[in-house]
Amino acid sequence: MSAEISEGTAPALVAPRRSRPRGRGRLGLWLPPIALLLIIVGGTYLVNFLLGTRNFLLPQPHVVAQVYIDPKNGPAIFEALLHSAEVALVGLAIAIAIGVLWAIAMNSAKWVERTTFPYAVILQSIPILAIMPLIGFWFGYNFAARTIVCVLIALFPMVSNTLFGLQSVDRGHRELFKLQGASWWTILTKLELPAALPAIFAGARISAGLSVVGAIVGDFFFQRGTPGIGALISKFGARLQSPELFASILVASLFGVLIFLLFGWLGRRAVGKWYDFG
C-alpha cells in the first residue's frame, strides 16, 4: 500500500524567496548616499572659500587627499592605521570569544546568569575614560593596554546579544530535542548556537564598530611603542596640521565603516539563507 500523494512534486512550484535587491536595486541603494557625499565635498569647498583667512579650519578636499601621497605623512598615516586595526581586530576577537562563552555559561546555568549578568551591565556603564589611567597603570602603555580597552568596550553587545539569541530558542524546538533525550552539548551545538547565530552576528557588528572606537581611544592614552592612528590624530591636532588631521580622521572613519560592512557581509553569508540579516 503506497501512501504517495499527487500534489506538488515539481520543485519549480515554489520559488525560493529573494531577500536582497540585486542589479539595479543594489545600485539604487548606493546612489543616494554617493550623491550626498558629492554635495558635502562641494559644500566643503564653499565653506573653505567663505572662511577666508581662517580657512585652515576646513581644508579643501583635494589638499586633504594630497596628504595620502605626501611621502612624509602618507605612509605614516597608513602604518598607524594598520597598527590600530590590529589592536581593534585582536580586541574584537577576544571580545567575541569571551562574550559567546560567557553567554553560553549564563544560558546553561541560571545561577551563573544571576551572579554575573549584573556585572556585564556594570561593565557597560563604566565610563571607559575614567578607568584609562588604571588600565595603563596595570597593563603598561602599549599594545596590551590598548587591546584591553577594545575588549572592555566591545564585550557587552556580544554578551547580551548572544544570551538573547540562545534564550530565544522556540519552545517547540526545545521540546523536540528533549523528547529525543538530547544531551546538553547536542542541544547547544545543534539547536541553541545555530538559532543564536543571527543575534551573534548582529552583536559582532556592533562590537566591531566599538572596538575601532576603543583602539583609537587607546591610542590617545597609551602612546608607548608604535603609534596608532589615534596618536597621529592627537599629534596633528595639537600642531594644527589641518589637512593631515583631516586625512587621519578620514581613514580612521573609513576603517570603522569597512569593518561594519565586513561583519554585515559575514552575517549575510552565515545566516542570510534562512534569516533576513539587516
Partner: protein, 249 residues
C-alpha cells in the same frame, strides 16, 4: 506500581489527574487505552487539557496522580506547528531525529529518503522551510517523525492552522500512512469531522477540568473513501459527537 499491560496495548492511562503548580486542575480521572491498530482521537473545548494529555503521554510532563504506561519507546510526536529548524533544508530536517539518536549518516539518509517519499516531498529535499507552504512544512514534520518508525504516533492538533482543503488532503494521506505503517495513533483536534474521519474511536472531553464524557466507536473500515464524509451515517456520527461535546462543555 507496574501495571500488567497486554502486549497489544501501547498506551494506558489509569485515573490520571494533572494539577498545575498554580492549583489549576487540567485533567481529572482519565482512563484511556490505545491499542495497536487503533487511531484514537480526542476532541474537547479549548483549554480542556487535551494537549496536556498528550504531553503526559509523551513524557514531556508528569501526571500529578495516576499511572501512565507506555509500552514502547518508539514514539512519534507531531506538534501544533511544524517545528522545523529554519537553517536546515527538508532533507536535513527529516534526518534530525535519527541524527540525535546517533544513526550513521548513510542509514539516516536512506530513512529520510523513504519518509520524504511517503509524504510526497520528493524533489523538495534542498528547500528551506521558509520556501515551503504550511502544508508542506507539516508533511516535512510528519516525515521527520516517520524516520523513527514509531509504534505510536501522538498528534497535537497538527493541522489546526491549515486551510480546509490542505487539511482534508493531509487527513487522507495520514489515513493512508496509518494503513501502510500500522502505527497506533492518539490524535488531538478540535474538529469533530476530522476526528470522525480519521479515527477508529473518538473520545469527547469536557471543559476544565478535562474529563472523558463520552466515547464513540467509529464503524467505518480503513482505508476510507474520502466520500464517506458525505454519507448520512458519517453525518449522524458527527452529530452525536458534537452533541456530546456541547453537553460536556
Amino acid at each position: 506500581m507496574p501495571t500488567a499491560v497486554a502486549t497489544d496495548t501501547l498506551l494506558d492511562f489509569s485515573d490520571v489527574q494533572m494539577t498545575f503548580p498554580d492549583g489549576t486542575v487540567a485533567l481529572s480521572g482519565i482512563d484511556l487505552t490505545v491499542k495497536r491498530g487503533e487511531f484514537v482521537t480526542v476532541v474537547g473545548p479549548s483549554g480542556c487539557g487535551k494537549s496536556t494529555l498528550l504531553r503526559i503521554a509523551s513524557g514531556l510532563e508528569t501526571a500529578s496522580h495516576g499511572t501512565v504506561d507506555l509500552a514502547t519507546d518508539r514514539i512519534g510526536y507531531v506538534f501544533q506547528d511544524a517545528t522545523l529548524l529554519p537553517w536546515r533544508d527538508v532533507q536535513a530536517n527529516v534526518e534530525l531525529l535519527a541524527e540525535l539518536h546517533g544513526t550513521p549518516r548513510a542509514d539516516r539518509r536512506a530513512k529520510a529518503k523513504e519518509a520524504i517519499d511517503l509524504v510526497g516531498l520528493t524533489g523538495f529535499e534542498k528547500h528551506l522551510p521558509r520556501a515551503l507552504s504550511g502544508g508542506m512544512r507539516m508533511r516535512t514534520s510528519l516525515a521527520r517523525s516517520l524516520t523513527l518508525d514509531p509504534e505510536i504516533f501522538l498528534f497535537d492538533e497538527p493541522f489546526g492552522a491549515l486551510d480546509e482543503i490542505t487539511r482534508e488532503r493531509l487527513n487522507d494521506e495520514l489515513l493512508k500512512l496509518f494503513v501502510a505503517k500500522q502505527f497506533a495513533g492518539l490524535f488531538i483536534t478540535h474538529s469533530v469531522s476530522e476526528a470522525v474521519y480519521l479515527s477508529t474511536r473518538v473520545i469527547v472531553m469536557s471543559g476544565r477540568p478535562g474529563r472523558i464524557v463520552d466515547t464513540f466507536d467509529v464503524p467505518f473500515d480503513t482505508p476510507r473513501d474520502p466520500e464517506i464524509r458525505f454519507t448520512g451515517e458519517f453525518a449522524r456520527l458527527v452529530g452525536k459527537v458534537s452533541h456530546a461535546l456541547r453537553e460536556g462543555a
